[in-house]
C-alpha cells in the first residue's frame, strides 16, 4: 500500500510536469525579447469588448487605430494619415494609409474600417464599447482609402473616441470568425503579431516584419508577464527577469532608482484623485461644509507621505494632461485649518460630525484613506474608513440614489478618451448619477450641464476649451469633491531598454521597444 502511495505521487508529479508543457524554456539565442511585467492578466483581446488597461496595453501592440495617442495623450495619425471634421461636429472624414496588410495577409482598406465600426455599433453584438460609437449614424466608403462617418447628433469629442484604445481596426477575415475567436486571437496591422496567451502567466507576441512604419519594430519578441503582488513585480525587475515593470509604488521608487542598471521612469498621468461628497444628503448638502473639508486637507503632505512625492495637488477638477484642461486655482485648494473650522462653525458644525468614507482595499488606497482620516480629525470630522473589495465596492456605489448609502467616496478617474468631456460628464453631469455612470457626488448643476452639452455640440476646439474651463470653475467653487491630487505613473526600466512607457491613462505602450547592450 505504501508503494502505491509513492507510485501515485510519481504519477501526479509527472502529470503536473506535463501540464507545464513545452514552450516554457525561455527564448534566449540572439532573439531580442522584451519582458514586460504588469500587474494583472488581460481579460480579452477584442478591443471593442475591452475596458481594462491590461487588455488595452496588449491590444495596442497588435492593433492600430485610425488615430492613436502620443505619450502625453495628444492625438496622432496611425492608419489614417489625415482627417477633417465638419464645423458642426457631425461629419468626420479620414484619409487612410495605403499598402497596409493585416497579420493574416489580407489588405487594409476603407471597407475594413466600415466593417469594424458597423460591428461595434450594432447592439445585437452586445459589445462593451457600444456607447463609444453608438452615435455613428452611417459610414460611407468614399473610395479605397477614404472613409466618412456621419453622426446622429453633433459630438465634439468624437476624434478622441476614435483615438480611444478600444477603437482599433481588426482584420475583417478574423471578424467573420466571431467574437469568441477574436477574444483569444487578435489579428491586426500593428508592429507585433500575436503568438500565444497562457492565462495567468504570459502573453507572447512576435515582430511583424511587414509593419508599415519604417524601422519598426526593433525587437523580436514581447512577453507580457502578469505579477499582481507589488513587491514581487519589483523583485522581478531587480533580478533582471523583466526589462520593464509597471506600476512601481511610490514606496519602491527610491529603491528602484538607487539600484544599478535600473532606472525609474516617472511620467504625469491623467488620473485625478478625489473624495466625492454626497451633495444631496446629510452635512455635505451644505456647500460651506464641502469647502471646509477642502481647506482641511493638506494636499502637499499627502503627496509627500502617501505618494513619496510623485504627484501634485489638483488645480482643477481634472488632471493637467487631459485635453481641454484649464487651471482653476494655482497650487490647488489652499490648506487652511482655521478657515476650515470657521466654515464648519458657520454651517452649524462647530464640533464637526462623524462620516463614513468608502474606499478600495489596495494597500496604497488604504494609506491614502488613513491620511485623509487623520487630517479631517483635526477639524473634528470623524471619518470611519470602510475599505471594500472591488466587487462589493462597485455594487454599493452603483446603487440608485434611493438605495445608495454612500456619504463620501474615495476615487480616482482617468478619462479613457483623454478629453475633458469624459473627465467631467461621467463624474459631474446631472444625467450620470448611479446606476447610469460614476457621479458619486450626485452633483447636478444646470449651468454645468448646459456647458457640457454646448461643448459636445461643436468641433471648434477653442469654444470647447472655453466651455470646459467655465464648467471647471463652477465645479471647483461648489466643491462636490475634496480635490486631492494628480499622480505620476511610475515604471521601472532596466538599462538598455527604451521605447517602453506608461501612458497617462495607465496603459502601457511597447510598440517602439528597443533593447541595446546585453
Amino acid at each position: 500500500m505504501k508503494k502505491s502511495v509513492s507510485g501515485l505521487l510519481v504519477v501526479g508529479v509527472a502529470l503536473a510536469l506535463l501540464s507545464i508543457g513545452p514552450g516554457q524554456t525561455p527564448v534566449r539565442a540572439q532573439a531580442k525579447t522584451a519582458t514586460v511585467a504588469l500587474y494583472a492578466d488581460a481579460v480579452t483581446l477584442d478591443p471593442y469588448d475591452t475596458n481594462d488597461n491590461l487588455s488595452l496595453s496588449v491590444e495596442r501592440t497588435v492593433y492600430d487605430g485610425l488615430v492613436g495617442f502620443t505619450p502625453d495623450m495628444k492625438v496622432k495619425p496611425q492608419l489614417a494619415t489625415s482627417w477633417e471634421a465638419s464645423p458642426d461636429a457631425r461629419v468626420f472624414t479620414f484619409h487612410l494609409r495605403r499598402g497596409v496588410k493585416f497579420h493574416d495577409g489580407t489588405a487594409f482598406s476603407a471597407e475594413a474600417v466600415k466593417i469594424n465600426f458597423d460591428r461595434v455599433r450594432d447592439p445585437g453584438q452586445k459589445l462593451r464599447r457600444y456607447s463609444l460609437y453608438e452615435m455613428i449614424d452611417s459610414i460611407t466608403v468614399v473610395d479605397e482609402s477614404t472613409v466618412r462617418f456621419t453622426l446622429r447628433k453633433p459630438f465634439g469629442a468624437m476624434l478622441y473616441n476614435f483615438a480611444h484604445p478600444a477603437g482599433r481596426i481588426i482584420s475583417p477575415a478574423a471578424i467573420a470568425k466571431g467574437g469568441a475567436f477574436l477574444a483569444r486571437n487578435p489579428v491586426g496591422t500593428g508592429p507585433f503579431k500575436f503568438v500565444s496567451w497562457a492565462p495567468g502567466r504570459e502573453i507572447v507576441l512576435e515582430r511583424n516584419p511587414e509593419f508599415w512604419e519604417a524601422g519598426q519594430p526593433r525587437v523580436d519578441r514581447i512577453v507580457f508577464k502578469f505579477i499582481p503582488e507589488d513587491a514581487s513585480r519589483v523583485a522581478m525587475l531587480l533580478s533582471g527577469e523583466a526589462q520593464f515593470a509597471f506600476p512601481v509604488t511610490g514606496v519602491q521608487a527610491d529603491a528602484v532608482a538607487k539600484t544599478p542598471d535600473v532606472s525609474l521612469d516617472a511620467r504625469w498621468s491623467i488620473y485625478a484623485y478625489y473624495v466625492a461628497l454626497h451633495t444631496q444628503r446629510g452635512p455635505f448638502r451644505n456647500m460651506a461644509v464641502r469647502q471646509a473639508l477642502n481647506y482641511a486637507i493638506d494636499k502637499n503632505a499627502i503627496v509627500k507621505v502617501v505618494l513619496r512625492g510623485y504627484g501634485r495637488a489638483l488645480d482643477a477638477p481634472m488632471a493637467p494632461g487631459v485635453a481641454n484642461y484649464t487651471q482653476v486655482q494655482a497650487g490647488g485648494w489652499p490648506y487652511d485649518v482655521v478657515k476650515a473650522k470657521a466654515l464648519l462653525s458657520e454651517a452649524g458644525f462647530p464640533n464637526g460630525f462623524p462620516t463614513v468614507l468608502w474606499l478600495g482595499n489596495a494597500t496604497e488606497t488604504q494609506r491614502l484613506g488613513e491620511a485623509i482620516q487623520q487630517m479631517l480629525a483635526q477639524v473634528g470630522v470623524k471619518v470611519e474608513l470602510q475599505p471594500m473589495e472591488a466587487g462589493t465596492l462597485s455594487a454599493v456605489r452603483f446603487k440608485p440614489i434611493e438605495d445608495n448609502l454612500s456619504q463620501a467616496n474615495l476615487a480616482g478617474w482617468s478619462p479613457s478618451t483623454g478629453d475633458a468631456d469624459w473627465a467631467l460628464r461621467p463624474l459631474l453631469g446631472g444625467g450620470t448619477w448611479p446606476p447610469t455612470l460614476f457621479n458619486l457626488a450626485f452633483y447636478k448643476n444646470a449651468k454645468v450641464d448646459e456647458l457640457l452639452a454646448d461643448a459636445l455640440g461643436t468641433a471648434d476646439e477653442t469654444r470647447r476649451a472655453k466651455d470646459y474651463a467655465e464648467a471647471s470653475r463652477i465645479v471647483w467653487g461648489e466643491a462636490p469633491w475634496i480635490f486631492l491630487y494628480n499622480s505620476q505613473n511610475l515604471a521601472g526600466v532596466r538599462a538598455g531598454t527604451t521605447g517602453v512607457y506608461a501612458l497617462g491613462d495607465g496603459t502601457v505602450d511597447v510598440r517602439e521597444a528597443t533593447l541595446t547592450g546585453k
Binding site: 508529479v13 477574444a183 466587487g391
Partner: protein, 306 residues
C-alpha cells in the same frame, strides 16, 4: 472492500448536489453585479445592460440553477463571465499548476516533517528536541506572504538562485513549494512527534524491546508504522487544503493555479467559474478522505472494511 468503495462513492452524490445548491445560494448573497464589473465603472447603463443580457443574468435565479444542473450532468459547466471560455477548460488549465505545487510541497513537508518528528521523539527533552520544536513552530508561525517575500528578496533578488515568480522551469517551483510546505512540514513534525511518543509507550513496543530487538528496528518496524496512521490522516487533510489553491502563496509568486483563479473570479464575480471551483474542491476533499480511509486499512491490520 469493493462494495465499501461503491457505497462511499455513491454517498458523494448527494453531498455534491448539496454543495452546488449551497454554492449557488451563497454566491447570490455576496454583493456585486457581474455585469457592472465586467463593463467597468466608466460604462454607460446601456453597455451594462447589454453585458447583462449576454451573460444570461436577466433570467431568474431558479431557472439559471436548473439550466446549470441540466448541463452539469453532461459535463458542461457553462462559460466564464469574464473570458467567455468553457469553464471546464479554464479549471482544468489551472488545476495542473496547483497539483504540481501541492505535490511538491507535500513531498517536501512529509520528508522534513517525518525526519524532524522522529528526531524529536527519539531525543525527547534534549537540546535537539527543544531547538527543532522551536524551529518547526516558527515555521507555522510565520505568515506565508511574509515568508514568501523574504525568500524572494534573499534567494531570488539577492543571490539569484531562483526566479522571483511565475511558472517555468523546475527551479521556479522551489520557492513557492518551500513557502507553502514550511507550515505543513512543521505541522507534520509535531504530529509525528506526539504520535510516535504515544506509540513508544505502548505494550507491543515494550515487548519488542524486552525481546531484545535492536532499537533501530523497534523504531522503524514497529513504532513508525503504527505512528504513521494519524500522520497519514494529517497529511491527507493538509494535501486537501493545499489543493484548494494556496491563494496567498500563488499571489506572491504569480503562480497560475486554482487560488489565483479564485481571486480573479471573485473580483469579477465570475459565478460559473466559482461554482465549478467549489464543486471541484469538495470532490477533492471527499476523494482524499476516501483515500485516507483506504490507507488506514493498508497500514493498520486491525481496520477492515466490509
Amino acid at each position: 472492500m469493493s462494495s465499501y468503495l461503491v457505497r462511499r462513492l455513491w454517498q458523494m452524490v448527494p453531498i455534491l448536489f448539496g454543495v452546488s445548491l449551497g454554492a449557488f445560494a451563497f454566491l447570490q448573497a455576496v454583493p456585486g453585479d457581474p455585469a457592472r464589473l465586467l463593463a467597468g465603472p466608466d460604462a454607460t447603463l446601456q453597455d451594462v445592460q447589454l453585458v447583462r443580457a449576454r451573460l444570461g443574468l436577466d433570467r431568474p435565479l431558479i431557472l439559471r440553477y436548473v439550466y446549470f444542473l441540466r448541463n452539469a450532468l453532461v459535463g458542461d459547466f457553462g462559460r466564464s463571465f469574464r473570458s467567455g471560455e468553457a469553464v471546464a477548460a479554464i479549471v482544468a488549465r489551472h488545476f495542473g499548476p496547483t497539483l504540481l505545487l501541492s505535490v511538491a510541497s507535500v513531498v517536501f513537508a512529509t520528508v522534513t516533517g517525518l525526519g524532524v518528528g522522529l528526531l524529536q521523539a527519539v531525543r525527547r527533552n534534549t537540546a535537539p528536541d527543544y531547538v527543532s520544536t522551536v524551529v518547526s513552530v516558527a515555521g507555522i508561525s510565520t505568515p506565508p506572504f511574509f515568508l514568501g517575500l523574504l525568500l524572494i528578496y534573499l534567494l531570488a533578488v539577492g543571490l539569484r538562485w531562483f526566479p522571483t515568480g511565475g511558472m517555468g522551469t523546475a527551479r521556479s517551483l522551489v520557492l513557492p513549494a518551500l513557502t507553502l510546505g514550511a507550515g505543513v512540514a512543521a505541522t507534520i513534525a509535531r504530529f509525528a512527534r506526539s504520535s510516535l511518543l504515544e506509540v513508544l509507550g505502548e505494550e507491543f513496543v515494550r515487548t519488542a524491546r524486552a525481546k531484545g530487538l535492536e532499537e533501530r528496528s523497534v523504531l522503524l518496524k514497529h513504532a513508525l508504522r503504527n505512528a504513521l496512521i494519524p500522520v497519514v490522516t494529517m497529511i491527507g487533510l493538509q494535501f486537501g487544503f493545499l489543493l484548494s489553491g494556496a491563494i496567498v502563496v500563488e499571489t506572491v509568486f504569480s503562480w497560475p493555479g486554482l487560488g489565483w483563479l479564485m481571486v480573479q473570479s471573485i473580483s469579477f464575480r465570475d459565478y460559473p467559474v466559482l461554482v465549478a471551483e467549489i464543486l471541484l474542491f469538495s470532490l477533492q476533499f471527499l476523494v482524499i478522505n476516501l483515500v485516507v480511509d483506504l490507507l488506514y486499512a493498508g497500514l493498520d491490520p486491525r481496520v477492515a472494511y466490509g
